[in-house]
């Protein structure tokens, strides 16, 4: 009798443990949601040209947008923004340019990851076009100028006067030559 009760309880408890293993994985999409909602991690959003045009321009307010570029680890690329800092009206669709160059003698696939500071500005920073939406493949020595079209939402919190958009180029995860890296990953913006 006792043994059966012990076994039943043990199975229930093992079930809880199994459930908590799943909970650990469930934290991944949950974290994504929290990031999207709060701007944690500086995630930027994507909107269509039509939606961007529909946002009312606030001609009385100016926001500084600064650009920061980084190349991760051993990726043999040069990467810079053409403009370092511009001033925009919230709601106005603006285009800026970035330049990447492959300085190595092999073809490399790169993936840029954006981040916006301060985090509370991130939910209001949306892009209609960005080289970070897809992976970029550069031939040896190839130089590429890449546009980014963005709009800072007119409802950007009042205290924010400067927004910094930062990009880091990574070697795309995938079966590339040379560096030992994680195998085929998925495209993502």
């Amino acid at each position: 009798m006792n043994e059966a009760a012990n076994r039943r309880l043990a199975l229930k408890l093992a079930g809880i443990a199994l459930g908590m293993f799943g909970f650990g994985y469930a934290l991944v999409p949950f974290y994504e949601l929290v990031c999207e909602y709060t701007g944690l991690g500086g995630r930027t959003g994507v909107i269509s040209e039509a939606d961007a045009a529909a946002e009312g321009v606030d001609p009385d307010r100016r926001v500084n947008v600064e650009f920061d570029t980084n190349v991760n680890g051993t990726l043999p690329w040069k990467f810079a923004s053409v403009q370092r800092r511009i001033s925009v009206h919230p709601g106005a669709l603006t285009e800026v340019n970035f330049v990447a160059q492959n300085t190595s003698t092999r073809q490399i696939v790169g993936q840029a990851v954006p981040s916006v500071t301060p985090a509370k500005a991130a939910p209001y920073f949306n892009k209609t076009e960005c080289f970070c939406f897809t992976q970029q493949t550069l031939a040896p020595g190839e130089r590429r100028e890449m546009p980014v079209r963005f709009v800072v939402g007119p409802d950007l919190p009042a205290g924010v006067s400067t927004v910094t958009l930062s990009y880091t180029f990574f070697e795309a995860p995938g079966p590339t030559v040379g560096i030992e890296s994680a195998a085929a990953g998925e495209d993502s913006g």
């Binding site: 293993f21 709060t38 944690l40 195998a183």
Partner: protein
């Protein structure tokens, strides 16, 4: 003739002899001994690593080991001490004591018990063998943060599988403990009559079942990120390394209470005995322990205030962290109130228990300082953090366990340990551990980062003093080993009662207790229940 009768009657006492007895045993006392022995061995393995760390840090500059090896020493020291000493050690106490304290003949699931112990030697072989692999052992810190952890060489899968094994062992052990406490209590042993050690282990078991699987998930994600192309923590693939820190500390903060709660229980057994008074505020002790465990799920982000989070998040985690000081304060108050106007005597277990109360409280206070978000930006990843968690883990969890060993060793072995040597061990440990860790507060406040093999010259003096304390503390533990061996082999015969102020079912059994105790359950009344 009577021998034959006895044999026929006590055929349960038959068990394989030699190594087979230990390999196949399902007896809670044998398995408790195995756990405690493993913890003791690992205590010296992890301790040897600490000696390497303190040796290198004794003087500025790189003297004895290269930085990569230094970092793997720091990483393995933590993993061994947490998963190899405190966790198996307290499970050893649980195995030995819980059945005897609640009047049960054995653990509820004896075969599972055997299995949960015997996967541990394999886990630690895997972990320690990584030192001999190309690229060396894991060197990214015990918190295994990516992307640094993902740069580990051949050691990486070994470390992760070792953690899986340790986790599986902990979960099985916890299931067993909960089933034992729920289903195997003697008649009259109601929940509110359980000794406090049993209560703390019941709550610890639930913490383990809820959080160890989350750790298992996190390290599995690391494994698939490195070898199977997932991008949970790989920014280039759309992941986020900060996510790992959230998942890890969701496990990590309850884990620190997993490490300390059993020692809370041990101290709550020792103090009443040598104060010759019942434990002050038994019910509030139970509720405080449960509150600490519950709150531990909502404070994880205080380990990484500097990672960047909204102000609201920083405030929430700061206040939640501070609120844990309330139930912890209740416990410290009750321990002191237990001693208040008691007829105190200062045998070795009592000395360790009193030192626990004082020194754990110091560690608690430095924890409160770290919990203040704006202050944490200065303290984060400095030696102040190192000093803090060594106060709560060494002078907290480990001192509680050392006191517990002295307290129950006469019961387990039937011999009294050498009281004079025990007192020497205590005073050497208590003084040297403060020489070892107190200066680290100053180093941290002055800005010395943790996990570095070399440092600026301004930190030289305190590091030298800290290292001297470390060597004395390390050597003192050899005395502990000698005392245990001496006590097992010989010593004055211990009475059943052992300590005149001790209460509880385990003291009604002979010293040492028979291989199978409480085969017929005792009747528990208020008089024979907890002190």
């Amino acid at each position: 003739m009577s021998d034959a009768v006895m044999h026929g009657h006590e055929h349960h006492d038959h068990h394989p002899t030699g190594w087979k007895r230990w390999l196949f045993t399902t007896n809670h006392k044998d398995i408790g001994t195995l756990y405690l022995t493993l913890a003791l061995v690992m205590f010296f393995v992890g301790g040897a690593m600490a000696m390497v760390i303190r040796l290198e840090l004794m003087h500025p500059g790189l003297q004895y080991v290269d930085p990569q090896f230094f970092n793997s020493m720091a990483t393995l020291h933590a993993l061994v001490m947490i998963f190899g000493v405190v966790m198996p050690g307290t499970v050893g106490f649980a195995n030995w004591l819980i059945p005897m304290m609640i009047g049960a003949p054995d653990m509820a699931l004896p075969r599972l018990n055997n299995w949960s112990f015997w996967i541990l030697p394999f886990a630690f072989s895997l972990l320690l063998l990584t030192l001999f692999l190309p690229g060396g052992g894991p060197a990214g810190g015990w918190t295994l943060y990516p992307p640094l952890m993902l740069q580990t060489g051949a050691a990486m899968p070994f470390v992760i599988f070792a953690i899986h094994f340790m986790g599986a062992s902990s979960i099985m052990g916890s299931i067993n403990i909960i089933a034992t406490i729920f289903n195997m209590r003697a008649p009259g042993m109601t929940f509110m009559r359980l000794p406090l050690f049993v209560w703390t282990w019941l709550i610890t078991s639930f913490l383990l079942i809820a959080t160890i699987p989350v750790l298992a998930g996190a390290v599995t994600m690391l494994l698939t990120d490195k070898y199977f192309g997932t991008s949970f923590f790989n920014a280039a693939g759309g992941g986020d390394p900060v996510l790992f820190q959230h998942v890890f500390w969701f496990f990590g903060h309850p884990e620190v209470y997993i490490l300390i709660l059993p020692s809370f229980g041990i101290v709550s057994q020792i103090l009443p005995t040598f104060s010759r008074k019942p434990l002050f505020g038994y019910e509030s002790m139970v509720y405080a322990t449960a509150s600490i465990a519950f709150l531990s799920f909502f404070v994880w982000a205080h380990h990484k205030f500097t990672v960047g989070m909204p102000l609201a998040g920083e405030l929430f985690f700061m206040y939640a962290t501070m609120s844990i000081a309330v139930p912890t304060g209740v416990k410290v108050f009750n321990w002191i109130a237990t001693m208040w106007r008691g007829s105190l005597t200062f045998e070795t277990p009592m000395l360790f228990a009193i030192a626990f109360v004082v020194l754990f409280t110091i560690g608690g206070f430095s924890g409160l300082m770290l919990g203040i978000t704006p202050a944490d930006f200065q303290y984060h990843d400095t030696y102040f953090v190192v000093a803090h968690f060594h106060y709560v883990l060494v002078t907290g969890a480990v001192f509680g366990m050392l006191g517990g060993v002295y307290y129950w060793l006469p019961k387990w072995t039937g011999h009294m340990y050498d009281e004079t040597l025990g007192k020497w061990h205590f005073w050497l440990s208590a003084i040297s551990v403060n020489v070892l860790f107190f200066p680290q507060h100053f180093l941290g406040l002055a800005g010395m980062p943790r996990r570095i093999p070399d440092y600026a010259l301004q930190f030289a003096e305190w590091n030298f003093i800290s290292s001297i304390g470390g060597f004395v503390f390390g050597l003192s533990q050899l005395l502990f080993l000698y005392i245990i061996v001496k006590c097992i082999r010989a010593g004055a015969k211990a009475s059943d009662q052992v300590w005149d102020g001790a209460h509880g079912l385990e003291w009604t059994l002979p010293s040492p207790p028979p291989y199978h105790s409480f085969v017929s359950p005792p009747m528990v009344t208020d008089a024979t229940a907890h002190s």
